[in-house]
Assembly symmetry: C2
Homo-oligomer: 342 residues x 2
DNA sequence: ACCCTTATGCTCAATTTTAGCATAATGGGG
DNA sequence: CCCCATTATGCTAAAATTGAGCATAAGGGT
């Protein structure tokens, strides 16, 4: 790899040096676009006839000043969605991402973004041939992440399978059990049950992947007998991993930054707000405490108006107080903890 | 890139599509390598004769399975440092990163990583011609971030300059003042002083950049009169931004993950530990409360041995309890809040 | 008017956090 | 050898935050 003369001195340590030019390299941008409608956290996925579901992805185009504007541009063009909050998630560049492109592996870099949109528009096609963008509950891809109605049934299948996997390899059994305990709250013995940590979505997915319990894990390195469970919905390449990361990030972030509001309509009731947070975090919250939290942090303010209803007494309509960003050091919805009650 | 028949349908929305090939594209990996010696948070920078300081950076080499192993490899080879914790920070891909490469801008993607190492080895050269890697306190690049000895003097220069900048543009004055208030704790009026938030390092740097108060900001778009302050040490391209991000991330992370231990020797006293946390976060902590926190979270355990000393009564030597990772949902050093006292 | 349902107000107790006070060990200097 | 400065630790009272519920308010429906 020849360096130009003036670069010669700035050798090794220099970023401007040694592009990976000799290797076939492509760069894509992928987006996890999230909206919440009613009780469901929705993500926009491209459903291909025949193929696996995928996240909307596009090329890195020239002409855009930043990666983010590039992303915003094509997403808004393609899906007709106006993006609110956008943040970069991670850059995936594993060699094996590429689906063996002949003999010499092409490295495929993919920069994943998380985007929040206020309303889940029909989305529909979007001018794409042979693929439709549809809003899908993210729990379709991660059924074990939804604890809102109690412990997800699918864990009755996954837990034993995970234990079996852990025990299968004598050398790593201890470490594996530790990880299970930490991430799935499978207290080994009388071990104090650590409980469910809603932010460990990615780690849990990776464990399931390693254990060969998700479709992608089986495909990529067809090991393990594999537990077929109806609800395990596969996605293209490493898109499910991106989604897992997005969920984890968002669940973490709502606790210290007022990003949830990017998902709410201009005015809403406190219960609607609570349901949205619950949808994202996958756990139930204690209603009165949730309200207390929101109000004393002054995250919202009255609109004066009052509800349209869902059942009982009319509820006040509130709106997000944008000023809070300036007041509290780290405003957000610090979840008042889970509650079994609805 | 010819798509195989079954891929033909996966047009637009697919990541595997439309690489940005027509645009000259290079990819580099940059590393913010952090160590703490005594009271100083150190970062490894490449000091070029004549040029600006830079972060160690290298090419994305083929042959490595993941970006992270690629990074680990060349860093360990080049700097002879054994990396502990490594995490991806961000991918920078702004068009204007490239230093005008003739007429058609080449896009330079740079994936930045944060790496923690236990000891700051002399590092010295590392087989590089014309550049030396040296450990430097990160406060050399961000003097306003060190509040350990009270309010940094440099703020007496920056604050007025920032206010002037904010007021200069009538249209954006309000928003700018809000940002100043939020990030620098410049309560506008009698406004309750929000206080200093140690994690807002990146936002503060960006404000200073926009205001033309850091060297890079002046160079890239030579605006504003610019306040020359001795301590403002410039770095190459957007390396100082990367460093700001690294600091912010690390400051945030130590609060909920036991990463600090990656920076500590095998055994240490509680005060040493506290000093390390203070070095990173840039604020003083209340000693007794810090200890209580550490102990009741059982982050450490006795070694049985006892200190070597720094002054008074000998201190117990403790070591990190690796098991904590499995017990607490999110172990870390939740800073017990700042204290003016030493 | 009575019942069901959701909205809100408030209270009480259990914990956690903030700020200090007080005592214990060591080394150095009169 | 005693006094002092210095750092290590142990403990505690007061304040603030959380976790759980009880009780009452308002609508809609029968």
């Amino acid at each position: 790899m020849p360096a130009s003369p003036q670069d010669a001195s700035q050798s090794r340590h220099d970023a401007r040096h040694s592009p990976a030019r000799d290797e076939s390299l492509t760069i894509g941008l992928s987006a996890v676009i999230v909206a919440v409608t009613g009780d469901d956290p929705k993500v926009l996925v491209v459903r291909r006839h025949g193929g696996r579901d995928a996240l909307p992805s596009g090329p890195l185009e020239r002409g855009h000043r930043t990666l983010e504007t590039g992303l915003r541009n094509w997403v808004e063009r393609q899906t007709l969605q106006k993006l609110g909050h956008v943040e970069q998630l991670y850059t995936f560049g594993d060699r094996d991402r590429s689906e063996t492109d002949g003999d010499h592996a092409t490295r495929r870099l993919s920069v994943a973004y998380l985007a929040l949109v206020r309303e889940a528009r029909p989305a529909g096609d979007a001018g794409t041939a042979g693929a439709d963008a549809v809003w899908t509950s993210w729990y379709r891809f991660f059924p074990w992440e939804d604890w809102r109605d109690g412990r997800p049934a699918i864990l009755d299948v996954l837990e034993p399978a995970l234990r079996t996997w852990a025990a299968a390899d004598a050398r790593h059994a201890t470490r594996r059990l530790e990880r299970l305990s930490l991430n799935f709250g499978l207290g080994d013995e009388a071990e104090e049950r650590t409980g469910w940590n809603d932010e460990r979505t990615l780690e849990r997915y990776e464990l399931l992947y390693e254990a060969g319990l998700v479709a992608e894990g089986r495909r990529d390195r067809d090991s393990t007998p594999a537990v077929r469970h109806q609800m395990d919905t596969e996605m293209a390449v490493d898109h499910r991993r991106m989604l897992a990361l997005a969920i984890a990030r968002l669940r973490g972030k709502i606790k210290y930054r007022p990003v949830v509001f990017e998902l709410m309509p201009p005015s809403f009731t406190l219960l609607q707000f609570q349901r949205t947070v619950e949808a994202l975090s996958g756990v139930r919250l204690h209603k009165q405490n949730f309200r207390r939290l929101v109000e004393q942090q002054r995250l919202v303010e009255e609109t004066g108006e009052t509800s349209a209803e869902t059942g009982g007494r009319p509820a006040r309509l509130v709106r997000f107080r944008r000023e809070v960003v300036l007041e509290r050091p780290a405003p957000g919805v610090r979840l008042p903890m889970a509650s079994s009650k609805r």
